[in-house]
Structure formats: C-alpha cells, structure tokens
C-alpha cells in the first residue's frame, strides 16, 4: 500500500506502520478487529441499474448543456473537432440546434421536475450553452433563456463556454441574464497563437480588447461571472498561462490538457509534439507552490489526493443519510460510473441526447425528433448492465472495487479484451497510494484544507 502506512480497509483507516518492537502485537490486534472482516464487503458489488434510477437521475440532474451550434469563428489548431482527431467526433456540419427541439426537451424535463421523481426544492439547474462558438447563435440563447425563465419548477442558472470574440457585441445579453462565462485564453499573445481565425490570423488582440472592455465597463459582472480556461500545449506553460491571466485580470485559470483519445494516426507525431503533460509541467513551474495553491483542486495532484481522501478515508459523508446507513449492508453498483444523467445531460446540435461531452457521441442515450423526445432506457440499461457483467470478474478481484473512479463508457471493451487503467488485482502488492499520500506528506496543511473546504456537487 504505502511504506509508511497500513490501510485498515474495512474501517477505512490509514495507520502508521508500527515500529519493529511492537509490530507483531499490533498486527495481531488489527487482525482481531479489522483484517479478518474484509471479504464479505467485496462481494456486494453486484448492483445493476434500472429505469427508475435513470428517471430519478434525469429529474434531479445538475446541468443541461445545449450544443447551440457546430459553427465556430475560430479554427484552433488543437480543437477537438479539428485535424488532430479522427472519426465521428471530428465531423462538423455547421448545424445549429433547433430551438423547437431544445424547447421540446425542456418541456420533457419540466414534466419530470413537476413529478415526484424530482426530490429537490428550488433547485439550481445550470442551462449551459456550448459550441462551436455559442455566441454565433444568440437567437437560440435568448429564446431558451426566456422560455426556461417561465418555469417555476427549478431555479435556472446560465453558463457558456466562449472564445470571447463576440463578447463586446453581446455583452447586454450576458449581463442581463447573469450568464456565467468560461473564456478560453491560453496566456499572452505568443501562448495564445494556436487560437487562430480561419484565415490563420491570430485572435489574441481582439479577444483581449473584448475582455478588457467587459472588465472596464462591467466590473461587477466580470468579477462574479467570468472564469478562464487555458489549454496547455508547447507554446505556453502552466506558469505562463497562469501568470498572464492572474497579473492582468487578478483571476486564476483552469488548465486543461489536449484530449489524447481519437488522434488521427497520420499526424500523431505532430500531436505529441504539441501535447504537454499538465502534472509534469506544473511541477517544473517557477512559482510552483504559489500556482498550485491558487489552482487548488485544478491542480492534478491535489485533485487526485482530494478524491482519494474522500473515497479511502472514513471522514467524508456524502449526505446526512450516510449516518443512518449500514455501510456494510446493501448492494453497490460496480465501477465509478455515474447513473446516466445524474450530473449532466448533453444535447448535440443534431438533437442527440448524450450523458456528457466526455463520452463519445457515438453512444447516444436518446434523441429529439419532430415526434418528440425519446430516451433509450432499454438500450442504456442493457449497455450498462452488460458492461458490469463483463467487468465482474475483474471487479471482484480488484483492490479498488469499493472506491472505483472508472467510468465504463471510457473503457476499451470488446469481446476478447478489456482495458481498465484502474484495475489493481487483489494479489498484487499495491503501492499505488504513494501518489495520493505523498502530496499530503509534502504539504501537511493540505489534509485539513481538503476536508474543510472541498464540497463536490
């Protein structure tokens, strides 16, 4: 597990490895109260999803994201729909999502929000606009906001990811509707040079002019509703992107890596020349400590340590209900896959309903057509439960089965082969806690900070 700690799996305690003179006695003590009770827990990971679970998840979802348009006014080199990527995900037909389809979906949701399946009161639901560049289709955005504002079943909040080129033009809409913006900006002019127009002209000056305009003229909106995201690549670094945005706007930025799945084989080399690993790059940063502290959960090692503390220690209770549950009773769903739609519903520009943008849209979970909204309950249940069945032999032999993070829709599964990066066989002596515990050893206050301040939705 870790050379300094013994993990008491059943009660989820990490205890210091005893010194040699008392080790035997202490291990015997743990044997009596802990070790010999491990087995029964493992066998309960045979839960399966059903229709009621999916409907409940949908009725209580946190976010509905509309892919407003496939159009974009930029042609960024590393775009997920660009030359680096192959297959279906890269096909863009410049479609706009039909307003009628979006309204049909909201009506479908409103029936669920009115039903007993919705067990939330005055719940914030994020209605998010995604693209392409969503501000190329403001008619859609305005109409959907007006439409959803008439519902009395939820408290809608609005958000959008934008390249900021049309920010100045549309600022009134954004401010009036308190739309949370995530602006893509990779740093200074040089750092941002992959974010280019279709005619290869750089977008940086226009983007900065727009952001400055909002900052100068709408400071309250800027402070409360605007966040930044920077994509990491070979023309910037964590340090450069972070420092530029922090110094210019007194804001931090989240840093994303390039998507490493579905790369077009013919330009693999160019892709890997462009790609930069976030964890390594952050570690090499000049102001590593400062940036890491500011990034906090957006720093990859802190994020994984936080998840580790939440899953592997017994200090974290998800809800008050957990005080009443017998942790050793019940049946658990295998893996870390969300119940479909529990976090997000994503509607593509052509009306497909998918679980989230992280899952390839080759797997629609439903569809919106002229005839109405259809969720493929049977298909979702079959696909999910069949995958659970295929994984069973691995899960029952996996050290991490009770605390798994793995989403089954991101696994490579076919009839003969299964690749689960998180699989950790029971027999294998595991040292994989090192990556999580070592940041805690390096920075003691992290433990308290995570347990006092981190609340996942």
């Amino acid at each position: 597990m870790h050379d300094k700690y013994i993990y008491l799996k059943r009660n989820k305690y990490f205890v210091l490895e005893p010194e040699a003179k008392i080790k035997k006695r202490k291990l015997e003590y743990f044997e009596k109260y802990e070790f010999n009770k491990n087995i029964e827990f493992k066998n309960k990971i045979y839960g399966r999803i059903n229709k009621e679970m999916i409907i409940k998840a949908l009725a209580n979802t946190l976010q509905i994201t509309f892919e407003v348009t496939e159009n974009c006014n930029l042609e960024c080199k590393y775009c997920g729909y660009g030359n680096f990527y192959k297959g279906k995900t890269s096909i863009r037909n410049r479609r706009n999502l039909s307003i009628e389809y979006a309204k049909m979906f909201l009506d479908y949701m409103n029936v669920l929000w009115k039903s007993n399946f919705n067990f939330s009161y005055k719940k914030n639901v994020f209605i998010s606009f995604y693209g392409g560049e969503p501000l190329l289709n403001t008619a859609f955005i305005i109409e959907i906001i007006q439409y959803v504002n008439n519902f009395n079943t939820i408290v809608p909040k609005f958000s959008m990811t934008t390249n900021a080129l049309l920010l100045k033009k549309n600022i009134d809409i954004l401010v009036k509707n308190k739309i949370h913006l995530l602006i893509s900006l990779d740093g200074n002019k040089e750092n941002n040079s992959y974010r280019i127009h279709k005619n290869q002209k750089e977008s940086f000056n226009e983007v900065i002019e727009n952001i400055d305009f909002v900052n100068n003229n709408f400071p309250e909106y800027f402070n409360e509703f605007i966040q930044f995201n920077s994509v990491l690549h070979n023309k910037n670094s964590v340090n450069k992107a972070f420092t530029y945005i922090f110094e210019k706007y007194k804001k931090t930025t989240t840093i994303s890596e390039l998507n490493t799945t579905g790369i077009e084989p013919s330009i693999k080399e160019e892709f890997w020349n462009t790609y930069v690993n976030l964890f390594e790059n952050l570690n090499q940063s000049k102001d590593y400590k400062f940036i890491r502290e500011k990034l906090f959960l957006n720093s990859p090692d802190i994020n994984s340590t936080s998840k580790f503390l939440h899953q592997y220690t017994n200090n974290v209770y998800k809800t008050y209900l957990d005080f009443f549950k017998d942790a050793k009773a019940g049946i658990f769903l295998p893996t870390g896959t969300c119940i479909p739609f529990s976090r997000k519903v994503f509607i593509t520009a052509n009306g497909e309903i998918i679980q989230c943008e992280k899952i390839s849209n080759t797997l629609p979970f439903g569809n919106i057509t002229k005839e109405g909204v259809e969720i493929y309950f049977d298909k979702i249940i079959k696909k999910t439960n069949d995958t659970y069945d295929k994984l069973k032999k691995y899960c029952i032999n996996c050290n991490r089965a009770n605390n798994c993070n793995q989403c089954i829709f991101n696994l490579e599964i076919n009839n003969s082969k299964i690749i689960c990066n998180g699989y950790s066989p029971l027999k294998k002596s595991e040292n994989s806690f090192d990556n999580f515990i070592n940041p805690l050893l390096k920075e003691r206050k992290l433990y308290k900070k995570i347990l006092k301040k981190v609340y996942y939705e």
């Binding site: 005893p18 200090n315 009443f324």
Partner: protein
C-alpha cells in the same frame, strides 16, 4: 532523528477543559480511557498538533507512552519528520449549514432524501384534513422514508379516513407502517379487512391498566407498550409478564414520575456508558445531528411539526405547502433535528457526550438533558 508520540487515526478525543479531563475512544475496539491533569495536557498538545508531538523520554512520559502503546491508542515513532496522521476530521458533502455560505451550492438539492419517517396522529380532535395528508404521502414516494407511524385514537369514528390512509401508505410507500393503538380499540382495528392485504406493517398495542384480556398475548406480530408512572406499576407489569413470550416496552409518564425511580431504572450509569459500543459512524453522527429526531415529521391536529415533543411548527396542512418545501423548512430553519449533547447543558461539558445516546423525547418532556448518574 526525532522521536514522536502519536495517537492513531482511529482514536477520537473529547475534552472537558474545565475539569482538565479528556476521553480517548478507540473506535476499533470501543474501549474508553479517561485522562486527567498532566496526561490531559499532553493529549491536548497532541490534539492541537495534528495527533503527534516530539517525545522526550523520562519516567513520567515513559509510563504514559507505554499506556498509549499497550492499549493500541498510538505509539512512539522515530523519524526526522513529524509523522503525518490521518486524524479524524468530518466532512459532510451536503452540509446544508455550509451551503448557506457557498452561493453556488444548492440548499434544496435532493432535499427529500432527508425525510425518513412520518408520525401521523389521527385522533378526531379536529376534522382531519385527509386529502392534504394523502397528498403528502404521495409526494414522499421517492423520498428516503422507511417508516410511517399511525398513532390512532377514536378508530371507531374515524374508520373510513384511517382505512384510506392505510391503503395509500401501502400503495405509495415501500416502507414499514407501524400502527399504535390503545388496547380497547385494537379489536375494532384488527377485525377490519383493510389490514388483511397489507404486508409490511406492525401493531403496537398500548396497555394503560390491568383491564385487558391476556389472550391478546397469543396474537402474532404485536408489540405491547405498558404505560407506567412509578416503580409499583413497573414491578406489577414485570411480574405479570414473566414467562410470556411477547415483545414489550414501557412508556413512562415522565412529567409525573418520581425522580428516584428514574435514577434507579432509567438513568444511565457510568458502567452502562463504558459498556457501550459506538461505531465511528455513530460517533460522528452524535457530533452532527440527533439520530432520534432527524428526518422525522410529525402531523398532529392538522399541523406539521419537526419533533413529537415540544416540536416547532413547520406549517399547517391547510397552507398546502409542497412536501419538499416542508422538509426544506424543517431542515434549514430549525435546529431541532441537530439537537446534540454538545449544545445543551450539562452534557456539553461531559466527556461522554458523543458516546451517549442522542437526546430523547423523554429528556425534552422532562426538560433535563442528563438522564444519567454521571453529571448531576
């Protein structure tokens, strides 16, 4: 190389600073250790320094560290760096009190998961707003509800309403229904056909005096509650119940009970508390909320309260609030579900405050929180 004295992560500490005293509770084996004065001071240092301090050996320290080590409470470790201990620190993800400070969080999200139990009094003192009660039951269909208690008086006159209520609970909620009824109304209830199609229910029969037919003890699936006021009643029932294979409890009229009787028969002694086996989960619960009260709504005389005894009025049935809003109000605007011993005198200064059972209705009725012989 330094030597460090540490406590293990499975050890919980409760202080009584006023008396320079603390309790170490081992959540693995449930053993409890009280330390005072100098040892209390050392433990206080360990606690405030994240479960470890530098160790310098002398006779006194050695005796203390041996005690810690021999009872598996912690130990000594040699290390250049201060050891890192995963000391206990609770984090409740949907901590609604925190949400008030976090604007992006959703206080009302999944609110119905906090509804565990309904206690419905039907007594005919006021015309029951049955339609409104049935609507609430329907709305609780996907909540976390595990039990509905029907406390019935005047069954004969309220038969129609009660039977409709029983059928709706059975059809809509997949939970246990407990019907509490006085002995003299029991026969009427059981002769009704409504109960015959109900699977998951149990009956509690209240017996207030000797005026009952002992044949009732032969009936199945019944619990009995004997109302008592003093030791004479208690002894009387106990002697009569000897060799009877029945399940029963006593219900005390606390307000009229003799204090000596309570001390002898109800109050917890130190020995009782030392025997208690409290899980880490229950220990944390006792730090956070009242497990007896949390998640319970009481419907009585067409009003909804957050607790059976001296509960706060949440709403009136004729206000037609949604169940979600009612649970939200009970949770957010009232502290009763969170009434823990750390918030009441004299328990708040007691080192056993997180080991003791939660504050009970009896204590509320009696307006005293220490039903124990430890702090007087």
């Amino acid at each position: 190389m330094n030597r460090w004295l540490f406590l293990d992560s499975y050890i919980e500490i409760t202080f009584c600073h006023k008396e320079k005293k603390c309790l170490l509770y081992n959540t693995l084996d449930s053993k409890k250790y009280i330390f005072r004065n100098k040892e209390y001071e050392i433990i206080k240092k360990i606690y405030y320094r994240e479960y470890s301090i530098k160790y310098f050996e002398n006779n006194e320290n050695k005796r203390f560290s041996d005690l810690i080590e021999n009872n598996f409470l912690g130990g000594i470790i040699e290390s250049k760096e201060k050891p890192f201990i995963f000391y206990p620190l609770i984090n409740i993800q949907r901590n609604l009190k925190k949400f008030k400070k976090l604007s992006y969080r959703n206080e009302g999200a999944n609110i119905l998961e906090n509804l565990f139990e309904l206690i419905i009094f039907i007594n005919g003192k006021k015309r029951t707003l049955l339609h409104e009660i049935l609507n609430l039951i329907r709305a609780a269909e996907y909540s976390s509800i595990t039990k509905v208690n029907l406390i019935i008086e005047n069954y004969f006159f309220l038969k129609t309403e009660i039977n409709e209520l029983i059928l709706t609970i059975n059809n809509k909620l997949h939970c246990l229904m407990v019907i509490k009824i006085k002995y003299d109304e029991y026969t009427d209830l059981i002769s009704e056909s409504t109960l015959k199609g109900i699977k998951n229910y149990s009956i509690i029969v209240i017996i207030e005096n000797d005026n009952f037919n002992a044949d009732i003890f032969n009936e199945k699936n019944i619990r009995f509650v004997f109302k008592i006021y003093n030791k004479i009643d208690y002894n009387h029932f106990v002697s009569n119940l000897q060799n009877k294979k029945i399940e029963y409890d006593f219900e005390l009229d606390i307000a009229n009970c003799n204090i000596d009787f309570l001390k002898e028969n109800v109050f917890l002694n130190k020995a009782d508390i030392l025997k208690m086996k409290v899980t880490k989960q229950d220990y944390d619960a006792n730090k956070t909320l009242n497990k007896y009260f949390f998640g319970k709504l009481v419907i009585k005389n067409n009003k909804i309260y957050n607790r059976e005894t001296k509960g706060k009025l949440i709403t009136k049935l004729d206000e037609n609030k949604e169940l979600k809003e009612i649970v939200f109000d009970a949770l957010i605007n009232s502290n009763k579900w969170f009434l823990i011993r750390d918030r009441v005198k004299p328990c708040k200064t007691c080192v056993f405050k997180y080991i003791c059972p939660p504050i009970s209705d009896y204590e509320i009725k009696a307006s005293r929180y220490n039903f124990c012989n430890i702090i007087n």
